[in-house]
Symmetry: C2
Subunit: 525 residues, 2 copies
Amino acid sequence: MGRAVCYPARGLLLLLAVLWSAEGGKLLVVPVDGSHWLSMKILAEELGQRGHEVVVLVPEASILIKGSDLYKTVMFAVPYSKEEVAGNIGMLKDSVFHNGSHQEGLLINIERIKMFQAFQARGCESLLYNSKLMAQLEREEFDALLTDPFLPCGVIIAEKLAIPAVFFLRGVPCGMDRMAAQCPSPPSYVPRDFTDNTDHMTFPQRVQNLLSALLQPMLCRMIYSSYDELASRYLQRDISFQELLSHGAVWLLRYDFTFEYPRPLMPNMVLIGGINCGVKKGLPVELEEFANSSGEHGFVVFTLGSMISEMPLEKVNQFAEALGKIPQKVIWRFTGPTPENLSANIKLMKWMPQNDLLAHPKARVFMTHGGTHGIYEGICSGVPMVMLPLFGDQADNVQRVASRGVGVVLNIHDMTSQSLLDALNTVINDKSYKENMMRLSTVHKDRPIEPMDLAVHWTEFVMRHKGAEHLRPAAHDLNWIQYHCLDVICLLVVIVIAVTLVTVKSCAFCFRKCCRRSERKRKSD
Amino acid sequence: MGRAVCYPARGLLLLLAVLWSAEGGKLLVVPVDGSHWLSMKILAEELGQRGHEVVVLVPEASILIKGSDLYKTVMFAVPYSKEEVAGNIGMLKDSVFHNGSHQEGLLINIERIKMFQAFQARGCESLLYNSKLMAQLEREEFDALLTDPFLPCGVIIAEKLAIPAVFFLRGVPCGMDRMAAQCPSPPSYVPRDFTDNTDHMTFPQRVQNLLSALLQPMLCRMIYSSYDELASRYLQRDISFQELLSHGAVWLLRYDFTFEYPRPLMPNMVLIGGINCGVKKGLPVELEEFANSSGEHGFVVFTLGSMISEMPLEKVNQFAEALGKIPQKVIWRFTGPTPENLSANIKLMKWMPQNDLLAHPKARVFMTHGGTHGIYEGICSGVPMVMLPLFGDQADNVQRVASRGVGVVLNIHDMTSQSLLDALNTVINDKSYKENMMRLSTVHKDRPIEPMDLAVHWTEFVMRHKGAEHLRPAAHDLNWIQYHCLDVICLLVVIVIAVTLVTVKSCAFCFRKCCRRSERKRKSD
């Protein structure tokens, strides 16, 4: 007795927590198909492992979302086939290999995502109006919903079921996530999406960044216009995606400041960058042998991501030519026909254990398109990069990596086999790339708590407390005039003008009085 | 083999980390005397415990800073006695018990702190110009410096010794900490110090808050003017305290959002609210018996903090009268003469183990002046409060607590024994106070990592990496015109005006041309 932890009230609290944890919560997961699912799946499985009942909503035409022992899946019908989904995702990468003017970049990106979203909205609509399924979900009384708000369907479902939402994401186009979370992002040092700016900008870059900050939100609201309409119709009140987003309880953000430029955060933003590179398995025997056979030169890991399976023959030959000329071995994830000029040092694979390969001590360079999963796997394992961004946020991503001096960026359109060879040789032979990358890797991994534990804690927190109300800023209760104090500023300006006017008029009046008096005096004189 | 953790490079990194941790770092601590030291001491001891060499700089006239087995102390001479320090601190509480107009509050607070700082600056000066001691500190080659920047001396020493600084604080007056950290604080929902505003403001309150946001920084720079002069003279270049503050590597902030209103944070801000209530010991036998003898009614813990030892007899009698009328027992920390009307249920103590008392299951109410240490101890143990703020940030603190429905605020000037009795009865008998407090306490303690582990990690991080450069926003490299994009806005306004003028002039020109032509035509007709 005497020690506070033994007191009954404290014991009761602890017991309740243990009981809750033993019982576990009920979590509904509304994922985004494709690469977005790959890291969310790790969290869903971990939560299942920790005794929660995790239910994942899977569209019938899903490409990557599969079942697991650790979570349940609930399938729902969508008005399109798996092939159409593949085509829709393929549309995103259309014209990646067709050179266009640099200025078109932003508009093309936005237009592509808008078409992608409009297609996905059809699937969402068929889910929302599946009254049997929705009634079943309502009966289940979930404690929380986990979703990647890149696709807004989960956000609408959370609102309909009136359960708190945990967001798991790299970002929503044009910084809509930051706007919805009421997170200040001064355009003077927080670069906007698709601008190629860093956090250190010249005057013209700041002009461009401010204009982007002003225009992008409007452009990007267009991306989600089909969802705005769907949400308003379904929830039977006028509501936008951005407003729905603002109801999120906790934002699990898949980055940290070894990748992203330092900038303001809100209390309910939790950084979990690198969550995807925690779990490592050994390499298969054959691959381990190939990797070790690379000797002192080591090997290059090359992939352009899960969404690019084919590319023009000309590009394939350029890659094969350059990679054939380096002393390193190369493991190249490539699903197209084997190029004719393929050297013996290159091993083609339809799929490869990227994270485990990068963690191999002989990994010298990571050739990547710059998706955040791959970038974090490279950072975790300390492998410098040659980066060839293709679409979406990849140009922004690789620019962040390059600004740390841990990689080189190539434009896939202008690239020649010689420029690729030069880039590879630079990253391999200039020791600064490896040194910078090892430093970045050390800093990234020097953290007080693992990103997975953070993600699990905050998801459980939201389940336990039905939200995270104490982290919600009062800014959400203000309109933008109030938020920026424009009404107060107007009042102050009016007061200043009034005071100035009254002062000037009074002075003028006094002055005239004096003049008249002296005039009269002069006349009488 | 196979598992990534066994690879040599990774092993080497791990080994280096272990070696570093075994060797430990060297940390210089420049504390603030008085209650500020109480929680910093816990961190200093913990760091000593974990194998670091911790050196604490102690002024000869120190009141509360004592030696320990876990850290070394280095004494330095100051041009004043212990009594003068007590007098200087006493000056802060002067007129606490003399009623003044509410409007004077801000100016009195600022004036008092300015005088306090000017006094302390004399001690700082004698430390800085103690060339033998400073040379010794330089030779020691510390990895980092830990200080509470409420007194700027540590910040100046860090700059002189060119070592990274870790700040440990509740705040710097007038939000100078937030300004120095480049942390946005929209005045529309982030209440300014000494304003009594919450995060939900009416229009007049927003007017007051915006004016405070505009004026306070100027007023508060006055507080530190003696240090600005001292720093510039000592470092031999023109530098302000705010600029020195902006060089801080990591900010360990002694609050979280169960106490503070949710608002933006910067990447190098780490919330460690409640760090002081982690360590609990059992009560001494006599006190445990007294506490248990309180039966079902429980007991009240009453203290006005370490800085108030005496108060007017009238107030003492009011307290004694009200506390004598409740069925609870009372433990009252009071160093003055025993009041005549003291009831048997009240136990006076010169010092009391406040945290351990609050952790006792029979603790019903905490009567406090609203210092953050006490408030967090109350939150940790789930004890609702009756609060009597005296000076400094206490009015702001108690207002945050009251806004959560976990306590009642009394004005110590207007207080009568009846109003105190009413407040006590409200908090004891209205179950909502206890329920809200238990909820707040649960939320406060439901965290992924303990505040002490966070504080230790980030101090060690700064020691290991000689700073936390990756968390430093680029905003520090901009002047305020650039930060707010005023130059860009000017350019855009000029362009808009120019385009408008040219358009209007062109239209006018065309219009005149057309008119003339039609006039000529009419004439010729």
